[in-house]
Amino acid sequence: MYEFLNWLVPLAGALLTPVIGRRRRPAEVLALLTVGVSAASSLILLLNFEEGLSTLGLPGLTFGVRTDALSVYMAVIASTISFLIALYSIEYMAKDSAYTRYYFFFQLFVGSMVALVMADNLLQTFIFWEMVGLCSYALIGYWYRKASASRAGLKAFLTTRLGDTAFLTGIVLLYANTGTFSYEKISEALLENPSLQGLFLVGGLLIFWGAVGKSAQFPLHVWLPDAMEGPSTVSALIHAATMVKAGVYLAARTVEIFHVLPQWGLYIAYTGAFTALLAATMATVNNDLKRVLAYSTISQLGLMFAAIGLLIEEGLAGGTFHIFSHAVFKALLFLSAGAVLHATRLNDLRKMGGLRRKMPLTFAVSLIGILALSGVPPLNGFFTKELIISASIHGNLLVFALIAVTSMLTVFYGFRWLALVYLGDARSREAEHGHDPGLLMKIPLVVLAVGTLLGGVTMGSLSSFFEVRLEGISVVGLLLSGAIIGTGLVPAYLFYYSRTLAPDILTRGRLGGSIYRMLARGYYIDDLYLGFVKGFIGVSRAAYARIENAVIDGFNYLLALLAKLAGGELNTLVEHVFFSRGTIRAGGRAIIMGDGAIKFDFGVIDGAVNGVMRVLLGLGERLRRVQTGVLEQYVFIVSVAAFFLMSLVLVLSFIGA
């Protein structure tokens, strides 16, 4: 029963919200209650764990639910973190008037995410996957009157949608060849029929592309930084509890099917490791409070993919466990950022500073979050990152190298962020108004901070829950971690803490400057895409004016023009044309005489067409004449045109046969 309650209750709550959520308090209580029920039932599932499949049959509709270690684990993460965020939302969104919409999509988001991970088949996963995308669209663009917010929502929706088209193609491909959507049965089908391996590789990569979009991996990572336009609670929801974790879940889930295909794993590992490095470099120069964290999420997700793609037990465990660590400390960081934003209304790191004294609690929990992000023992991030690094050493040295560099950069940008926000003196008037948040916002912060501090304790029970055997942490691993942290920490300390070096020392030179600009612009990837989109729309506009309206639509009118000429009504026509537009006569003659090939100007055709249209179907008396006189000719000519097209059809179908 609990395997249905944990996702159906929030979904039902979403449906109820417009009904009973007309006033603020009931809407808040309802959201807390349903997400709380979801968290509670997920935890009950975890504690009384039993593997199994169950179905819920409604008329014309069946839901299949799978309870296994991965699904229960993901459900617990999604629902409990969401519960804390819901609690935090009550104070954070207290002044916002559209709370009905907010809590509607909030619950829909949580319910869909839990349903996504509990689904026992690909199609159901995809349905809730898309609903998660829809909720993120609505919540990122929550402040829809702000143009940048609605644009960010659109960007998120369309970028992830692009990945989803690949995902759906992959699902459909596998279904057509195995006759089932079920994860278990598909993997059995592959084992029974090894000749399908090539097909499965294609299908597996297509499905992984869905994860690339959802989890913002290269080259579809561009939407996540912009998604910061939503409220901070939504950012926390997207980055920690739902949405982006869905991609990692999908990769981990489909390992069950594709683990026999090493190329599949390799592609995932390289994508993840490369993205991790790419995003980490971008995070080092960004000056936006939340965008730094967004790049950090992309980077951390990359690490998870890199580990899962190694297709070894240690890597799988590392990638999967890191979902948990990251969810806790990243929710903590985003909610701290939300507290800063709530108090100062500032986004720009350059205008902050000095908040340590004004917001001591927020500073303390942020510090814990950054330490965990950097992988400092004994915080939760240390254990899982250690697993990932050790797996990559055993799995693939190139991946290891990329991960190691990423981890150094992570320490650097983490402490840079911390220093710019909290240390030094206030760099603007707003920053002087900082203050710690109220009780409802403090509780989630403290709970998450405690979770970050003590998360390492759960590692043992996690590995027994997943039935993996892990070696203890070796001295070599510890030394390696120490070296990585030290390499990242030293420059951060020199630049932003002791200030022995000015941060712009590296960007002053020409080379340094251009590297800086490149990183700040995200390697120009966004600009490249924007250029492509603009070109795509530009060509569409041109095609609309010059082909659709001039050639295809004009074709008939042009033929009518010729019919008119042939029909001996040249004089009338010339008269009308002469009065309507001077150039038409020249253009029309050029076309008719056949010498217009060079001067084949669509503008002229367009003019001619419009002119003729005005003549043929003009107003008043002319219309009556058209209705009786030219009609048959017109019909005849259009029939001739249709005949030509039909002949084309025939010729082509002969070629096809």
């Binding site: 008329p59 014309g60 509709l61 199609l123 995809f126 809730f128 898309e130 609903m131 995308g133 829809l134 669209y137 663009g141 829809y144 009157r145 143009a147 609605s150 644009r151 929502g153 659109l154 929706f157 369309l158 692009l162 989803d164 088209t165 759906l168 193609t169 459909v172 491909l173 279904y175 057509a176 060849n177 090539g198 795509f536 729309i537 569409s540 506009r541 095609a543 609309y544 004016a545 659709e548 295809i552 639509d553 008939n556 179907l617 219309l623 058209v626 209705q627 009609l631 017109y634 019909v635 259009v638 249709a642 097209l645 039909m646 059809v649 025939l650 082509l652 179908s653 096809g656 046969a657």
Partner: protein
């Protein structure tokens, strides 16, 4: 009598309204509209009622042209049942919506004649799907153009007259192709029943006749506005009164698809099988070109029409796969797209009604002023973009599974296998284009700063909201319970596919 009354009752009411009008009795917009709405709603429930009685198919024969040995024969089977229900149901919603809409779109002829034409239009469409013989089918197929022409000509927007002319000319061309093909078939087989014809055509050896098949296919393609026969559609639907446009997009053009599956596919199986690759290409061209043009269309109402052109491609693609799930999905798409597009056109009508604008660049920030209409706009846009949990997704994935199943029935990694796999993938990819132009448009119309001119704009009147709300509910319902439709389309598709698998 159950089927005949479906046709006779609206005709009787239309005639009475016109006769009264002739004697100078004006019953008024509300009375005429209410009457028409009730008639349509009763027809809808009658169809639903018949469906509960029906086992297999239901037929009725009445003496008609004895000289030609032709009776007036009506039929209701799985396929025509769905179409009939959609025609009656959407007509009821469009008619209710029109009662308010016509307040702002007056014509000297009076609203009564508008509703009389609407009644006749519904009869024309119903007649098409209820016809058992091909001559009668053709008559209704052409007759429905006449009320459609008048509706756009008199009650349409500024360009209505010109667009109506263009429409009637295109339809005349389509008709000439259909008449040519059908008379040739009837002449050579001496058979008129749609259900006897396939066997007779095979007997006389015409089932591989490319020319006749091509003529009929193209005749219906003009109605459904497949590329490159599509340019009448944006003009006509764009200028017709909005509730009529909604009806045109939701059901009328889909009768072209009905013609394909009822006539072209079963009559000429070998031709269709041989050219299914070509049909798939045509389908994707239609999807791609329609969507690509929608991206640049500056007028909201016309954009929706380009989207209709594009979406029709999915129907054709599903049919072209010749697999039972693909055909069933293609037919399901008729209804999932129909409900969503119907909704969106009514939304466009509401914007015209409330702020008197249809240019996308002149709209903006409407979500704050018309929240319910805006929500419904989003529902329609998401459904057509194929986003769960709305209906559009249910039909689209079936269509794509059809494409992949077609591929998997062929030699693995062969040329044809690659062709169908790639075609399907392009088809899925094009759903992103649909999402792009819809969500972009939604953003420009609904979000951002509200224009100062809309300060006094108010939410659509409640009768309009109810019509839109019902359409939106249907779009959502199909997402959760596609079985309402697939119970029928699956059965029909399995029967149809048998012809092709030999």
């Amino acid at each position: 009598m159950l089927l005949l009354t479906l046709l006779l009752v609206p005709v009787a009411f239309a005639t009475s309204i016109a006769v009264l009008k002739g004697f100078g009795v004006n019953i008024g917009r509300k009375a005429a509209g209410g009457l028409a709405t009730v008639v349509f709603a009763l027809s809808f429930f009658q169809v639903v009622y018949i469906s509960t009685l029906m086992t297999g198919r239901m037929t009725e024969f009445y003496p008609w042209l004895n000289m030609l040995n032709l009776s007036f024969s009506l039929i209701l089977d799985d396929l025509s049942l769905l179409f009939a229900a959609a025609i009656a149901g959407f007509s009821a919603l469009a008619s209710a919506y029109s009662i308010i809409y016509l307040k702002a779109h007056k014509h000297p002829l009076g609203a009564e004649l508008y509703f009389a034409n609407l009644l006749l239009f519904e009869v024309g469409m119903l007649g098409v799907v209820l016809s058992e013989n091909i001559i009668q089918f053709l008559l209704f197929f052409e007759a429905m153009n006449i009320p459609a022409f008048f509706l756009a000509y008199f009650w349409g927007d500024k360009g209505g007259k010109e667009a109506a002319m263009k429409y009637i000319l295109y339809m005349a061309v389509g008709a000439s192709l259909l008449i040519g093909g059908i008379t040739y078939l009837v002449g050579s087989t001496g058979e008129t029943s749609l259900f006897e014809l396939p066997a007779r055509i095979a007997e006389v050896g015409l089932n591989g006749d490319l020319l006749v098949a091509g003529a009929l296919f193209a005749g219906f393609a003009i109605k459904i506005a497949a590329i490159p026969f599509h340019t009448w559609l944006p003009d006509f639907h764009g200028e017709a009164p909005t509730p009529v446009s909604a009806l045109l997009s939701a059901v009328m053009i889909k009768l072209g698809a009905y013609g394909w599956v009822r006539i072209v596919f079963p009559f000429f199986p070998s031709v269709i099988e041989g050219s299914s690759g070509f049909l798939a290409v045509l389908a994707l061209l239609t999807i791609g070109w329609g969507g690509y043009m929608a991206l640049s269309e500056p007028d909201f109402k016309r954009l929706l029409v380009y989207s209709s052109i594009s979406q029709v491609g999915y129907i054709l693609f599903g049919l072209a796969t010749l697999t039972s799930i693909g055909v069933s999905g293609g037919l399901l798409h008729v209804f999932t797209h129909g409900s969503a597009k119907f909704l969106l056109l009514l939304v466009a009508g509401s914007f015209i009604y409330s702020v008197h604008r249809r240019k996308i660049s002149e709209l903006g920030g409407l979500a704050g002023k018309l929240p319910a209409t805006a929500t419904l706009a989003l529902v329609g846009a998401l459904s057509i973009s194929g986003a769960p949990p709305f209906g559009g997704f249910q039909s689209e994935w079936r269509v794509f599974v059809g494409g992949m199943e077609r591929a998997s029935s062929l030699a693995l990694y062969g040329t044809e296998w690659a062709f169908w796999t790639v075609m399907t993938w392009i088809g899925v990819l094009l759903t992103a284009l649909t999402a792009a132009y819809y969500m972009w448009t939604v953003m420009k119309i609904l979000y951002g700063k509200m224009r100062p001119a809309f300060v006094d704009a108010s939410e659509s009147p409640s009768l309009m909201l109810v019509s839109m709300g019902v359409a939106g509910f249907i779009a959502l319902l199909f997402g959760f319970a596609p079985g309402i439709i697939t119970a029928y389309t699956d059965r029909f598709a399995q029967l149809m596919v048998i012809i092709f698998s030999g």
